[in-house]
Amino acid sequence: MPRLLVLVGTRKGLFIVSSGADRREWSIDGPHFLGQVVNHAVLDPRDGRTLLAAVRAGHLGPTVFRSEDLGRTWAEAQTPPAFRKAAEGERGEAVSHVFWLTPGHASQPLRWYAGVSPPGLFVSDDSGRNWKGIAGFNENPDRIQWCGGLQDAPPDGATLHSLSVDPFDADHLYIGISTGGVFESRDAGATWTPLNKGVAADFLPDPDAPFGHDPHCLRVHGAARDVVYQQNHCGIYRLDRGADRWQRIGEHMPREVGDIGFPLTLHPRDPKTLWVFPMDGGTVWPRTAIGGKPAVYESRDAGESWKRRDSGLPREQAWFTVKRQAMTSDTLDPVGLYLGTTGGELWASFDEGGAWRCLRMHLPHIYSIETAIVP
């Protein structure tokens, strides 16, 4: 019988929460890597077996572990992501942590991508065992400028995230840089183009700056061609591929809620359905549920209208944050939604947001959530 896995990356390790496909009885396995930061863990949908985890102990350098038996045993990458050693007199960089893992295109079954902090892009062509930098990005003479200088970093460090592969073109890649903006490559990473027209950047002097933006989470639809959304520091957007211009669909959110947040997740089959988790981006940017009343907002028409989905979530005095990697969906019908909080709670809805229940409490600070179906 197939099992549904919810991979919960936390500040203190990885937990695998699982159930049958009916989503009735849940169990938990872990912690794996107790005491170590697990920024992201992803099961390869192409083989249903290979599990990669981005791991860093507070004192030690960053690495990637892989498992082929759902975490019963782990092997460290033989060559973890690492920047090129600088020449004498040149300023070199070191990977602080591996932040994002993305399986490659279905036609490249052994390929994986990794995004790191400071913003860097790596690829593996042997299922995560050995990693090398993508020179078209890491060595690009414009890279530092795109990132606003390496000292311009959010609290956990500037990072490359939201690595996405176009399901219709293996060479077409999207990335998000915080800060820096969205970029795309149509030649497997050899060259990159900013993709930020129409996106606000209230913190930049030039309202039409080609880059320097702060995408929080970019999602490329896995089944529909050219469907791309992003939750940005300055709003929620849908990409109009014809004009290569972003439309601020967050303007249709209730005014008292606004359209600031970090995560965004898509319906696996309906390209017009998406969910966001708005947060307080006022004053000093508390980044908490607005007014202490957490809610998911759902759009069924590609962002033209939004509906509050908070049944079962706390009604008041709940000040948690949901990080950019910590909300996702499964592929079942109806779609299940999952969100993890900075307070260590794992919440789920098995009716596409209609009702929420808390699956787990008392976990460490949750960094990421991914789902997978395994035989």
Binding site: L60, T63, E76, G92, A94, V95
Partner: protein, 86 residues
């Protein structure tokens, strides 16, 4: 020579906290350690050859400023994972 390791690195050495490695410099010693315990060097030393921020390495109880430090066969190397974070 004798190398003393902190608990965060014990997974690489089958939980041994005291191991043997050879080298005329700290860099060579770390390379030898990595041959014996694959992956251990990168957890202590970044890709630019710098000792990581929360790692300290002492040679005969004196802190090594970098991995170019010279070693004698009778030296004792102590690796410490500094206390930090919460």
């Amino acid at each position: 020579m004798k190398v003393l390791l902190p608990t965060p690195l014990a997974d690489y050495t089958a939980q041994a906290r005291e191991v043997e490695a050879e080298g005329a410099t700290l860099a060579e010693l770390l390379d030898d350690l990595d041959r014996r315990f694959p992956g251990i060097r990168f957890r202590m030393i970044d890709e630019q050859g710098a000792i990581r921020a929360h790692i300290k390495i002492f040679v005969n109880r004196r802190q090594a400023p970098g991995i170019a430090s010279r070693l004698a066969p009778s030296d004792e190397v102590l690796v410490v994972a500094a206390l930090s974070g919460g």
